[in-house]
Amino acid sequence: MRGREKLFLLIAIVVAIGLSYVSASFNRYYLGIAIDVGINIILAVSLNLINGHTGQFSLGHAGFMAVGGYFAAKFTLVYGPTLPPAAQPFLFAGALLLGGIVAALAGLAVGVPSLRLKGDYLAIVTLGFGEIIRVIFQTSETFGAATGLTGIAKLTTFGWAWALAAVTVYVVACLVNSTYGRGFIAVHDDEIAAGAMGINPVRYKVTAFVIGAFFAGIAGGLYAHHKAVLSPGGFDFIKSIEIVVMVILGGMGRTVGVIFAAIILTILPELLRGVAEYRMIIYSLLIIGLMLTRPQGLFTWGKKGAA
């Protein structure tokens, strides 16, 4: 696969942006779902770096997403009106970057205690962290308290969502498929052996948390500028669980599988809208059924860790 990764990235970005030029003629409902799929791919693939590849079970991904979403939205709300329309894409890029960076800092803050905790204990800490974030936004007047932020410019297009999804996949796949990045898997497989082979487990865990949180923050920014409203309720732990389910269903540490799972699990609830009140029941039953029959994940062909 030497040298092909960059080509893949370039093609994916060009296709995504190219499609977004003609997307105005698409059905707005389908387009909305397509953007949701892109955002969920970013969330699932970035969480997969933490949970799947590095083996640090995190339940706080919605928290990182919230941090990114709120900061990016606040940024465009404050500076958006002062700029001409031509500058909007740059403003949006800046907002997403800001959201990603603040979320990455939050990832650093969670990554540090995670060095001492393993398994269930870490899951509980990250779960608590996610809730703390939500409560902070819920009580902060600057971020609209319980009402949240409204009137956010609808800047997220199909191109933005899918181009950034391609970037996320590229980053995670490149990291894991390198002599450097194999450290993540080594930490996942056996921390003590990894240490004895010269791999600093602390460094890899923190790196995984920071990179994973960065992309969750970007996904949050995309989400905010897609829905145009942000409320703290949207980032509760159910949202974190949703992302975890995508990772587990796709197969821990398998990027391709996780992408498929993100697509299916985003579209499935929409397909079930026809049966309105039963749809969450059917959705849950499907997940239980899948877990009983394919506990290792739906899509486990090919080499683990491969893109």
Binding site: S178, R182, A193, A196
Partner: protein
């Protein structure tokens, strides 16, 4: 005479009220093959874990290449030249044989997140070199034909060998083997002895061997240290150890008669 490669001086470690290792003095010279033996629970693996930085001694000092290693983390010690295998094999289970070895070559290249993402020429060269070196290493131990299968799917003896190959991939000066003969049949043990001798000779490294199996230890070690209840009770050549009454008492129980 230059400083020994590894020197333990009055090393003691206590876990709560239990003194696992007490006043241990031990030396390993460059390119020497030293054995550390003792009955179950004598503190051999604990001594290992102190040398590799997993545990910190309560008192006493450990020097590697003339420098104290107090407070240094295992991964840093690995980069300095201490490598090890484990009593219960600890291969990277989800990786292939080749990736197990490649991952251990970590320390020998200076790469960062940036390099992995940009995938420039330098990065690809390092990747190619690491892959080549890993394959060469596997070839020496004739494990190269399995490079694409999972480490855990190899036969037991090959897993042991792969662990040694992985440890060698970090380019150690001192290799610690924790009960490499555990669970092996006599033929495999014979092969293992030849392998250890070969490794020491080919890579010009010192080996510290913790072992239960007397035949293996007596067969290859130049010098042997004997531990019992955390204390060193004897040190010497295999012949001296074999004749030492304290060692016989520790292994077979107290004697009432010299006739054994």
């Amino acid at each position: 005479m230059s400083a020994p490669l590894l020197e333990l001086e009055k090393v003691t470690i206590k876990f709560g009220g239990v003194t696992a290792v007490c006043d241990l003095d031990m030396r390993v010279e460059e390119q020497e093959l030293v054995g550390l033996i003792g009955p179950n629970g004598a503190g051999k693996t604990t001594a290992f874990n102190m040398i590799t930085g997993v545990y910190q001694p309560t008192s006493g000092s450990i020097q590697f290449s003339g420098k104290p290693i107090k407070g240094i983390k295992p991964h840093t010690l690995s980069l300095r030249g201490i490598s090890r295998t484990f009593q219960n094999i600890r291969l990277f289970a989800s990786m292939t044989v080749l990736d197990n070895v490649r991952t251990a070559m970590q320390g020998n290249r200076a790469q960062r997140v940036r390099d992995a993402l940009l995938r420039g020429k330098a990065f690809r060269e390092v990747e190619a070199r690491v892959e080549h070196e890993a394959m060469e290493l596997l070839k020496i131990f004739s494990l190269d034909q399995f490079h694409d299968s999972h480490g855990k799917s190899l036969p037991y003896g090959d897993q042991r060998r792969l662990e040694i190959v992985r440890a060698l991939a970090t380019q150690p000066k001192l290799l610690l083997l924790d009960e490499p003969a555990a669970g092996m049949n006599p033929t495999e043990k014979q092969e293992l002895m030849e392998l250890i001798r070969f490794v020491q000779d080919k890579f010009k490294i010192a080996v510290l061997l913790v072992e239960h199996d007397m035949k293996v230890v007596m067969g290859i070690c130049q010098r042997i240290n004997v531990l019992d209840y955390g204390r060193k009770i004897a040190e010497g050549t295999p012949d001296e150890i074999r004749a030492n009454p304290k060692v016989i008492a520790a292994y077979l129980g107290q004697e009432t008669d010299d006739d054994a």
